[in-house]
Amino acid sequence: MTARARRSGWLGQHAAAEGLVMLAVLGWWWMSNSLSAMVLPSPVSVLKRTFDLFVDPELSRHALVTFLRVAGSVFISLVVGLALALLARRAQWIDAIVRDRILVALNALPSVGWAILALIWFKASTLSVMFVQVMILLPFAVTNFMEGLRNLDAEVVEMAHSFTRRRRAVFAKITLPMMLPYGVAALRTSYGICWKIALVAELFGAQSGLGQLMLRAQAAADATTVLATCFAIVVLFAAGQKLVIDPIARAMRADLHQP
């Protein structure tokens, strides 16, 4: 393929892609004209409400709370996940329990189930929301770290042990750096999943946050706010990915390649 052909292909692709987006928004706008705002609000009012969610002090509090909960839960699940994976490496029987019982159960348990139980156990609070999120994220973190530990270069570790007897030094200088790529993978996965379940977790077990906002809007038949909350989640997710997750991943990769 010549450069020119490739370029025109690229242009055509973008034209088609942007065309689809515009068509979708136009179709939405056209349909919203003939339907009541309760069923399908117009794109303009949803855009305005989404903007409000970030600037209005009363509403932006909810967005901030949701974001902080996600960040906290991802952090906790990574730490606990690493600890569990390291623990499982100690002995065969712990590994069997973690792999065949804890992971299987945690993987299969639905977030709504946790959400309802958390509400009964911890009442409606941030603790309850973060409990649900951590329970859902934990299996992903553990699986990633276990995979990382399994692929640890045994010879490198052996060499390290022949240089020093200090297990802590080996852990900090060899094991942890070799686990970094898996940590980044765990971070990425957990971050994505946490946003997916953030709303469910907040639906029942919270007094603030975007999930609560959405539930209240739904009860009030306020479709504009329901849609705006959805878009706010999309924006927050993408912003966190671009501004926090990607730089961390890049920094870790750079760190890894330094001599």
């Binding site: 692709q13 299969a108 009964i120």
Partner: protein, 238 residues
């Protein structure tokens, strides 16, 4: 663990932690009475219908760029990220407004939530299609339908399989949520009733049943199918 659970349940009020025996009773009700089985069957139907619908839709979307190269960015850069990042609850809430409470809402929202998982897995397969193999197929026969049946479809099998497997795990969880908010039957609906009546034993029973169901179907259906698939490929290669 059962023993710890038993004694912990003795010490706590039953609405916080019901004992294993009470949960066992509820579980028996779910799988051994017509009323309980009706809800289990409804959930299985919701999961199956949504998986089928999202697989068919996802298959078309994933193959579109193969025949219409201009649609690559449209699919990979716009449509998939959008459905992938739009929150599932949002779809359920909108479906309640659009379709009312009932089976339609549940199947619709689960279908859309599963769609990105299907597309992402199948797109991976389309991208991995062997260019040279396709070229060879083109030089042997001009029939596009034949190339599709004999080359493209078989190369996509492993990816279809993983698409189904990933979606199956997700589908149970989101079906529960959808039924809870927008259903009139199914395990999620039972869970909502249990929540309002503070019937924690029922909630435990539903969660336990789902874990057992997912585990059993994974073992019986997917593991067996995977073994057959691998055997088939080894057989073809030798």
């Amino acid at each position: 663990m059962l023993i710890v659970w038993f004694f912990a349940a003795q010490a706590l009020p039953p609405y916080q932690l019901p004992g294993p025996i009470k949960v066992g009773d509820k579980l028996a009700w779910l799988v051994a009475t017509p009323a309980g089985l009706w809800h289990v069957a409804a959930s299985i139907f919701h999961v199956a219908a949504a998986m089928l619908a999202s697989f068919v839709l996802g298959f078309f979307v994933a193959l579109l760029p193969l025949y219409l190269p201009v649609a690559v960015i449209m699919v990979d850069g716009r449509f998939t990220p959008f459905v992938n990042s739009f929150p599932g609850i949002g779809w359920t809430m909108l479906a309640i407004v659009w379709l009312g409470i009932g089976t339609n809402t549940v199947v619709f929202s689960v279908t859309i939530i599963l769609l990105p998982f299907m597309i992402i897995n199948l797109r991976e397969g389309v991208r991995a299609l062997d260019r040279e193999l396709m070229e060879m197929a083109g030089s042997f026969s001009r029939s596009r339908a034949r190339a599709f049946r004999l080359i493209i479809l078989p190369s996509l099998f492993p990816f279809m399989f993983s698409a189904m497997r990933v979606s199956f795990g997700v589908s149970w969880k989101v079906t529960l949520t959808a039924e809870l908010l927008g259903g009139t039957t199914g395990l999620g609906y039972l869970m909502n009733v249990a929540r309002q009546e503070l019937d924690t034993a029922q909630i435990f029973a539903v969660m336990l049943l789902i874990v057992l169901l997912v585990y059993a179907i994974n073992r019986l259906l997917f593991d067996t199918a995977q073994r057959h698939l691998q055997l088939g490929r080894v057989g073809a290669a030798s």
